[in-house]
């Protein structure tokens, strides 16, 4: 920044140290430790390593051979696409709409946020009852409209969709709130000037709101991608252990499975390394696609 106030750099330390101490101790150090762990043999959570793997990169060879990890990667890519198009897309449309209405702004802002307020655990349980084969909400609804056969929403052909819809739905409100805050920060004067110049509502959205929202959208894009890589609670409660027949693994659930169910802690560490690498790469891609601009 050009300002003279910030030429004296001594206070920087006091601003940065508290946050970065926390991050280092509880995030970066454990993560590095985790990389080391991925080369060792660990059979129990919290237990110390038995020694190095022989050869030390065993887990990574395993990773290439493992069929489930490929399923998980493909599913995760689907999830990323769904979150960018679904969550972010819907959120942008809703935010622009809410910004353009006079009455009820507050109401929509409040209720769109509901799914975020709710624990993913609770949502998973809720959707389990909604999608329940033996007469959950949807099957009862289908019956009312004359369907005679129960539909199994968790069979091979429907499972991915059944998993993606709640995950997508859950986080729309999250991006919506960030975007609407961004829209609120756009000065009314700009809109007023445009209106005087004869701009239509659509033109104001297209040439003022969207360009000025660009950086906020970019931030949301990065959050959406990293969020998709981390998504865990909801899929795990709805589709534990990759059911049916290992078709719904996500990188997150597959990693959890190895850490806590099959006691292959070192292998799960290797998967988490993979998740982080993927996260960095995709976030870079998102950043170049939506490249931050200054207006």
């Amino acid at each position: 920044m050009s300002s003279n106030i910030y030429k004296n750099k001594k206070p920087v330390i006091f601003f940065l140290v508290p946050a970065f101490v926390f991050l280092s101790v509880f995030l970066y150090y454990p993560f590095l430790q985790n990389i080391v762990n991925s080369f060792k043999e660990i059979n129990n959570l919290g237990a110390s390593a038995k020694g190095w793997n022989a050869p030390w990169y065993t887990n990574y060879i395993e990773l290439c051979k493992d069929r489930n990890i490929w399923t998980a990667l493909i599913n995760t890519v689907k999830m990323i696409v769904a979150t960018i198009i679904g969550q972010l897309g819907i959120a942008i449309v809703l935010a622009l709409m809410v910004d353009n209405i006079k009455k009820g702004q507050k109401f929509f802002r409040t209720v769109y946020f509901f799914p975020i307020v709710i624990a993913a655990t609770a949502l998973g349980l809720l959707f389990n009852i909604v999608f329940l084969y033996d007469k959950g909400m949807l099957n009862q609804l289908r019956e009312m409209f004359g369907a005679t056969k129960l539909l199994d929403f968790k069979d091979d052909s429907h499972a991915m969709l059944t998993m993606m819809i709640p995950v997508t739905w859950q986080y729309v409100g999250f991006y919506f709130i960030i975007l609407i805050t961004g829209l609120n920060n756009i000065s009314d004067d700009l809109y007023e000037a445009a209106t005087i110049d004869g701009a239509s509502r659509w033109q104001r959205v297209r040439y003022i709101s969207i360009p000025l929202l660009h950086n906020v959208i970019c931030t949301c894009g990065v959050l959406a991608v990293t969020g998709a890589l981390k998504v865990f609670d909801l899929p795990w409660i709805m589709f534990p252990k990759g059911m049916p027949s290992n078709s719904t693994w996500l990188t997150g659930t597959y990693m959890y499975y190895h850490a806590f169910e099959s006691h292959n802690v070192d292998y799960s560490s290797a998967i988490s390394v993979l998740i982080v690498i993927l996260g960095v790469v995709t976030a870079k891609i998102v950043n170049t696609v939506f490249r931050e601009k200054d207006y």
């Binding site: 920044m1 300002s3 003279n4 106030i5 910030y6 206070p11 006091f14 601003f15 940065l16 508290p18 946050a19 926390f22 991050l23 509880f26 995030l27 970066y28 454990p30 430790q33 985790n34 919290g46 819907i90 709409m97 209405i101 009820g104 507050k106 769109y112 509901f114 799914p115 307020v117 709710i118 624990a119 993913a120 655990t121 609770a122 349980l125 389990n128 329940l132 007469k135 959950g136 009312m144 999250f174 960030i178 920060n185 009314d188 004067d189 700009l190 809109y191 209106t195 931030t219 990293t226 890589l229 981390k230 865990f232 609670d233 850490a259 988490s272 982080v276 996260g279 960095v280 976030a283």
Partner: protein, 294 residues
């Protein structure tokens, strides 16, 4: 100002069909966020058999029962669990607001050598899923003596510390964006009047960014409250349970009792929802309070 715009606008479109369309779309989405909650609340007052045959009718007359709640309350100490959850989440939110604000401010306003590195570290921090760090964190907590002590304050602290770290990256990224949008002139003016940088932060930047600090605080609170993962490792005895841990245990023991499931979900969801509805007022105030826009 806005009123004027709308007036001129209305002259252009007397019957605004587009407006109707907008309201239809918005209401449709609102229905998807409200109805499932209403549905689960409704069914929590019904017998588990009726949930599977007739879930859409209101629990009136004969259908109405409090049995599901009785079962939930009989088994567990739900008030203690609420207290634990709230202590954890409030501490996390407060710490995240302060720490992330300070860091974001410095990262935006100062130029220094390792700024680029720190910025990438922050973004990288968002990629670390909690399950990628939990294993070393558990061992660390054992060493410090915070885990497995059966003492409530220590166990709560063992959850709070990693949760603060887990929420910091996100908070810094969001705040960085908003602080960067503030005109530096305001800080210069305050500086001229004799404020030091810390006063600038607390008296100029923080009040101006109130809405984004509120956003960050609320998200940290919610994520901490809803995070089953970290909590399930450190809250192991009954008096330490938080709401999410308690109810996930309850439902895992009673997997097919949909009535109990409905009442448990309602017990996790609705207190928080009510608190949220009260806070909402302040959030909206915060959102519109920004002194200088654009």
């Amino acid at each position: 100002m806005k009123a004027e715009i709308y007036k001129t606008n209305q002259k252009h479109h007397k019957i605004s069909l587009g407006m109707v369309g907008i309201y239809v779309v918005l209401s449709a989405w609102a229905l998807t966020t409200i109805y499932p909650l209403f549905w689960i609340l409704m069914n929590s007052f019904k017998n588990k058999k009726i949930i599977r045959s007739d879930s859409f009718s209101l629990p009136l007359g004969e259908l109405f029962t409090l049995d599901n709640y009785k079962t939930a309350f009989d088994r567990v100490n739900i008030l203690g669990a609420y207290r634990n959850s709230i202590v954890i989440s409030l501490s996390v939110a407060a710490a995240v607001i302060l720490l992330s604000g300070l860091a974001a401010y410095a990262l935006v306003r100062y130029d220094f050598k390792i700024k680029g590195l720190l910025n990438s570290l922050v973004v990288a921090g968002m990629m670390f899923p909690p399950f990628a760090t939990i294993i070393p964190v558990i061992r660390m907590m054992n060493v410090i003596g915070l885990a497995n002590t059966n003492q409530i304050p220590k166990s709560l602290l063992a959850v709070i510390l990693p949760q603060i770290a887990g929420n910091l990256s996100f908070a810094i990224v969001v705040l960085r964006g908003y602080i960067a949008g503030l005109p530096v002139e305001l800080e210069e003016a305050a500086y001229m009047e004799g404020c030091n940088v810390f006063q600038l932060f607390f008296k100029v930047v923080m009040p101006l960014c109130k809405p984004s600090f509120a956003t960050v605080g609320i998200f940290s609170f919610l994520w901490s409250y809803n995070d089953l993962f970290t909590q399930s490792f450190f809250l192991k005895t009954k008096p330490e349970y938080s709401v999410t841990v308690l109810l996930s245990l309850l439902t895992s023991q009673e997997g097919t009792n949909y009535g109990l499931m409905a009442s448990s979900v309602s017990l996790i969801v609705f207190p928080l929802l009510i608190v949220y509805l009260f806070l909402q007022k302040y959030i909206v105030k915060g959102l519109t309070a920004g002194a200088v826009k654009g």
